[in-house]
Symmetry: C2
Subunit: 411 residues, 2 copies
């Protein structure tokens, strides 16, 4: 019998009415002949409330205890979900992360799944139960509760789908799929029918917040089709799969904007092997997450080295550079915190020329200055002035016709 | 190093301020040289809220799922408790019932502790932690979460104290000890310094709600001194121990009142062996909890059989008797639901005459009619009219001088 994993986020189970509606979806799939596994998050703002409760007692609560505390949010949802299903006459059983077999490492608050023992889940499915699993959590080797960090419930769901060989993992959320770009800025944005893991990974990393990168990586690695759809209606959503042939005809699948970026430039650094490594190793040791890196050779001896970081990391990054400056003989440091990054993403651009040119032309037409450019195989990103960023995104979306379904585009 | 177990009830950990105050008590005991284990209940009304959440989804939620749901309340308290202790600079670790080693049977919502594996608790104590354990919960053989039912956190605490060989188990609550009787009725009631397990067991069963009988039975069986005291102040509380010699000088330790009682009388039942067994086996099969039983012989062939039940069980009990009536040749059935039971309890009465006489005289002076009388070795109970019950309790308390500390009484 085919297995379907359904994941419901916090807004989709925020109250009794919503839990009942989500339970109806699980029941429907069960009636259609699927063995159904539900993964659920904490209800509504529960996690925020628990964090506030902890902060009232301790500004820096220990991570082990936070994991113990926060894991209760998901456990409450899944037991209530099972209770709702029994009321509908459906056999159901809820599991904590531990009971569902999620064995993780010791990294409290951002644990990685090491092993998933699905024997008990499978047994309950075979007995005709709908199985409801608390997302976001597992246990480590000594039996302490761990949590998987941001996007953790999505990761739980995709991992379960992989381990069970599920036909698909449905992610129910409060948006009805993934759009070509942020509709709050580009109102003509359209929903994508399908997108590849690689594209959505680039978009996730660039700040398109629908799904966290880790769960997509899991889906890609274990070949789990992920279907992002709304819990509020039955509109078709967006299917995330491996690249399929027709995708290559689409030049650009989506565009993103990433604000709150700062660029730090080290001017006149000694142009010799190992200097970049020294700098970024030091930043990593301070837990600064570096986005893009751009190095330009000024002369045979000197280079300028730039990188971008989130605003939240700027102070730490600036201090880190101050520490290391003399060691790499940097003559001066420049910081800009008024930049944003506009990017286009598409597997099609690997085999097409002219994407970069089309993007730059669109920006030039709007008198938008490009501070710097970075690219990957399926992405082109431009740093622009923050106050021009939305105009830039709209111009790029128009240029690549992101207001039309992929099949109808002329570019 | 001596071990102290401290148990904090829901009202004693209802908010951040109260958790901090409770944590200070644990820290104080640790500074005094104890290894400290804390057992905590769910915060304030959390359990009630969770029950309401479940009932919104299902009138009869399955017990396994309710246990899963309710257990989160205690887990939240203990992680927050540990977080508060770390803020005070104290090493602390919280445990679920499972992590603390509570292995129970399968009886969801009223599980019994089968085994307590305290290795990890002991290890953490030896490393200098204060260990905070979620009360009320354990797991069964397949790893499902169970709860221990009413008074479960007290039972968890006393069981841990027994397994760890603790010097004492302190029960922090919102009253400052156990009183000779209910001070809301007999305003002159005084706090008892000390009381025996047997006496408090009788009083608990008679409706004096300070502690649940199961935890006292545990304390008695494993010889754990239990100290009931207030979490709001440092007043001395009441110590529950095995009977000590001076207790025998106290005729009556306390008095209780039990309202909401109904008495069912089967008139003219065949006076032959096995009839009572038939009746009470049938009542038990309907899950009716019978309090007192009184049988009187009417003739060689016929007897009247009375028993009392809580009002909440009356309908079921009445139906059960209707079912079985003809089988025992009962000529008619009388029901009174306007009765209350007033009792006196004391280990001293075992070796003293005149306690019953003193009680009956006190009631007679107030023109209180006694419907029926039952006794045990350390208890005398009288059923009286409900509207005279408070007057009866006051009369009895005055007669046995329950407004005075035990040492000062003349009776």
């Amino acid at each position: 019998m085919a297995i379907l994993v359904q994941k419901f986020g916090g807004t989709s189970v925020a109250n009794a009415e919503k839990i009942r509606r989500a339970a109806q979806r699980a029941l429907q799939a069960h009636k259609e002949g699927y063995q159904v596994v539900v993964v659920a998050s904490a209800r509504g703002k529960q996690t925020d409330h628990l964090i506030a409760d902890a902060k009232e007692l301790n500004d820096a609560p220990p991570r082990r205890e936070m994991d113990m505390l926060l894991a209760t949010g998901e456990i409450q949802t899944v037991s209530l979900f099972a209770i709702a299903l029994w009321d509908m006459g459906q056999k159901a059983i809820s599991f904590t992360g531990q009971q569902a077999g999620f064995m993780t490492d010791d990294a409290h608050s951002k644990a990685r799944i090491e092993r998933l023992e699905v024997g008990r889940v499978r047994g309950m499915l075979d007995e005709g139960h709908i199985v409801i699993v608390a997302g976001f959590q597992g246990i480590n080797a000594v039996g302490d509760i761990t949590t998987l960090g941001r996007g953790g419930s999505d990761t739980s769901a995709v991992a379960l789908a992989a381990a069970l060989g599920a036909e698909r993992c449905d992610i129910y959320t409060d948006v009805d799929g993934i759009y070509t770009t942020d509709p709050r800025i580009y109102t003509k944005a359209v929903k994508m029918e399908q997108i590849s893991y690689d594209e959505i990974l680039e978009m996730a990393n660039l700040g398109a917040g629908v799904m966290h990168g880790r769960s997509i990586e899991f889906g890609k690695k274990y070949n789990v089709p992920i279907y992002v759809r709304s819990s509020l209606n039955d509109n078709p959503g967006t299917l995330i799969t491996h690249e399929v042939p027709h995708m290559e005809n689409i030049l650009v699948s989506g565009a993103t904007i990433q604000r709150n970026l700062a660029k730090i430039t080290l001017l006149g650094v000694d142009n010799k092997p190992g200097n970049a490594a020294t700098i970024f190793a030091h930043l990593a040791s301070k837990r600064v997450s570096v986005n893009d890196i751009i190095q330009t050779e000024v002369s045979a001896e000197k280079a300028n080295l730039s990188f971008t970081v989130a605003h939240s990391d700027l102070d730490v990054a600036r201090q880190a550079i101050t520490d290391i400056r003399s060691q790499v003989h940097c003559s001066s440091v420049a910081v800009r915190d008024d930049l944003a990054e506009v990017s286009v993403v598409g597997v099609g651009m690997q085999s097409h020329y002219g994407v970069a040119e089309k993007m730059f032309t669109a920006l030039a037409h709007k008198q938008i200055n490009i501070d710097s450019i970075t690219t990957s195989e399926i992405r082109i990103s431009c740093l622009v002035n923050l106050e021009q960023a939305e105009t830039a995104l709209i111009a790029v979306c128009d240029a690549f016709e992101l207001d039309k379904p992929a099949a109808e585009r002329q570019v």
